[in-house]
């Protein structure tokens, strides 16, 4: 076991995979200067051909990743901040998500696009995006949302070895968390396997990325109030481990979805819709979403922070569900 932060875990996965497989390479803006610390030592180990600084042209180099993948390499793109994916939407959707299909399986696109969700820190509306739900609406893209260092290592390694395009959304609110991770260089978490972060019996809290630590804290406090919360981390949104979620909800009869993204058409909305569609009979009350208010993120810190999910909001939602339960337990 090694103790790594989330950022170090990302670096580790990249390092190990580049060492294991010479066709893996990394590109992005200002990689070499290692802005966020996920590239420590990579240039020294692999040189600037395989750790490649790009011009500022997200659509260009993300599209180039597609082309490079089609001819036999396995690119990892570090797109830095998720907000910078918008200029590249066309290559991500029209090319990366669709090429294998429109060419009837002739193309293979083993590539990873990493970006961090840089919110909660007064970076204002243009730098605070958490846009994974947009990509969930597009078939052909796998999506991972690690919430801690262990998952980041295991998921990212699996993503790099996956023969499909994978988007990795890294939550900056989780960056500094340190934890034990396996040293086995083949340690992987298969995409599509959710994780029960804490078992419980009264309510299921499905939490995404930075929502997970909040949910864990809320669960602790709820326990003191005699409410036993089960915390589920889907870990990948495509594929989504809906079986695990439904199993939990069938047990508890109550569900909250915690999602740091804007609420409208969010992953939380999707998970809620799937629960009501497939586990309606088990539900003892509404499914509540604890997501970000559907306004932009303002710069001024005091008015920014209350817009996101908070521990208090999760506790309030859970208490409301348990207290106002109008149906009898089956």
């Amino acid at each position: 076991m090694a103790k790594l932060t989330y950022l170090e875990a990302i670096r580790q996965a990249q390092f190990d995979e580049m060492q294991r497989d010479p066709t893996v390479f990394l590109m992005g803006e200002d990689l070499v200067c290692n802005v966020f610390g996920t590239a420590t030592g990579l240039v020294e180990a692999f040189g600037t051909e395989r750790v490649r600084d790009t011009p500022i042209s997200e659509n260009g180099f993300i599209g180039a990743a597609a082309g490079a993948a089609m001819v036999g390499t396995r690119p990892i793109v570090d797109a830095t901040i998720s907000s910078f994916l918008y200029p590249a939407m066309d290559q991500i959707i029209s090319i990366i998500a669709k090429s294998r299909y429109i060419y009837g399986g002739q193309a293979r696109l083993p590539l990873v696009i990493r970006s961090c969700m840089f919110y909660g820190n007064s970076n204002a509306a243009q730098h605070s995006d958490r846009p994974y739900s947009m990509f969930m609406n597009v078939p052909g893209l796998k999506i991972i949302v690690p919430s801690n260092a262990y998952d980041a290592l295991g998921l990212l390694r699996a993503a790099i070895r996956d023969d499909n395009p994978v988007l990795c959304f890294e939550d900056s609110t989780c960056w500094s968390g340190k934890m034990d991770v396996p040293e086995d260089p083949d340690f992987m978490i298969p995409l599509g396997c959710g994780d029960i972060k804490q078992e419980g019996s009264d309510i299921s809290i499905i939490a995404i990325a930075g929502g997970v630590p909040l949910a864990m804290k809320a669960a602790k406090k709820l326990a003191k109030d005699g409410i036993s919360a089960e915390v589920i981390d889907p870990r990948s949104l495509v594929p989504l481990d809906i079986a695990l979620i439904l199993q939990s909800v069938r047990k508890t009869g109550r569900a909250i979805v915690v999602d740091p993204a804007h609420q409208n058409c969010s992953a939380a909305s999707e998970i809620s819709a799937q629960i009501v569609e497939h586990a309606f009979d088990a539900l003892r009350g509404p499914i509540l979403r604890v997501a970000t208010a559907d306004t932009h993120l303002p710069f001024s810190p005091d008015i920014e922070k209350p817009l996101y999910p908070t521990v208090d909001r999760i506790i309030a939602a859970a208490s409301q569900l348990v207290r106002s339960d109008t149906r009898m337990k089956a």
Binding site: I62, G63, A68, A69, M70, Q91, I95, I102, D163
Partner: protein, 331 residues
């Protein structure tokens, strides 16, 4: 000029004829409803596709556009899977899932048409980057139209190729129009080659109706790319005979007698005449034309005889593994 001892000489004619016949048949059966969706034909531009692709090896790469029936054929693709694709058949090169706007043939390095204008340029840069990283000497040829040079994707792909000195040849097929918009209304420079100046990229403008001339500039570009000298921008001056497309909105445009004027410099007629001038016997040419005719007829027959894809196939190739099929879909 034409060296008929060059084994390519007759092959160039053959490929241009293949494209012309293939599309003539495609248009005819599209009109009868045998081909669904839209059709953007390449007739008139054959020398551009063939003059460039003929220089490439089978293991070199090529990226096309929405107007790319001609490109995979020029690159050497077999006709049967292409025609079957147009008809939406399971034996199509894309299993019937791509259609006219996504012809391709990865087995001959044709990495596919993409019908989002300009979107192939970054992909081509990436294929070049891949070759560079893998250390092979393959080059990538990227086609796009005059109109595509307005897109950001064009700019970014060109810029990457230039900064990284990638082995990519960018071929701008300037047919004078983007749908109804004359080049002059969408592009502020007189010569597309001026676009290359923003990247310090070597460029050449060439008569796109003259397959030999295209071949000559392409040969230079390929030599440069293969030897690590970086990308080249080629502008082929050419013309499409048909309207922008059929079955994709109303895209008629009154081009006066422009079409007739250009037909006087039809790339196939020009080249046939040149071959005859160079001493190739007329019956040699006639035989090639017959063979091509038969090939296209065979491809059509093959396509017609082929089955449509099954419903389950709609869930294949989204990912490497088949998607779960929803209950409502009958398979």
């Amino acid at each position: 000029m034409t060296d008929i001892s060059n084994s390519n000489a007759l092959e160039k004619l053959r490929r241009m004829l293949r494209i012309r016949h293939f599309e003539t048949v495609a248009e005819a059966i599209h009109a009868k409803g045998e081909i669904p969706g839209a059709l953007h034909t390449y007739a008139g531009q054959e020398a551009s596709g063939v003059g460039t692709c003929i220089v490439l090896r089978n293991d070199d790469y090529m990226v096309g556009t929405h107007r790319s029936h001609g490109h995979p054929i020029a690159k050497g693709a077999a006709l049967r899977p292409l025609m079957a694709e147009l008809l939406g058949k399971a034996t199509g090169i894309c299993k019937g899932k791509g259609g006219s706007m996504h012809l391709s043939d990865f087995s001959v390095g044709s990495l596919g048409e993409t019908s989002i204008v300009g979107s192939g340029v970054p992909v081509a840069a990436g294929a070049g980057l891949g070759s560079k990283l893998l250390g092979n000497d393959r080059v990538t040829l990227c086609f796009f139209g005059d109109g595509a040079t307005g897109e950001g994707a064009f700019h970014e792909g060109m810029n990457l190729a230039a900064v990284w000195k990638l082995p990519v040849i960018f071929c701008c097929e300037n047919n004078g129009y983007a749908v109804s918009t004359p080049s002059s209304a969408g592009v502020p420079v007189k010569h597309m080659t001026d676009r290359a100046k923003a990247y310090d990229m070597p460029s050449a403008q060439v008569d796109g109706q003259d397959v030999d001339a295209v071949e000559a500039v392409m040969a230079e570009a390929v030599a440069r790319a293969r030897s690590g000298g970086g990308p080249t921008f080629i502008e082929t001056l050419t013309y499409r005979y048909a309207d922008h497309a059929v079955n994709m909105g109303r895209v008629l445009l009154d081009r006066g007698d422009e079409v007739d004027e250009w037909k006087k410099r039809d790339p196939i007629d020009l080249y046939r005449a040149r071959l005859l001038d160079s001493g190739v016997a007329a019956d040699v040419l006639a035989r090639i034309e017959d063979e091509v005719s038969a090939e296209v007829a065979d491809a059509l027959q093959f396509a017609r005889d082929s089955a449509y894809p099954t419903q389950a196939e709609a869930f294949d190739d989204v990912f490497v593994d088949r998607l779960p099929i929803p209950a409502f879909v009958q398979i």
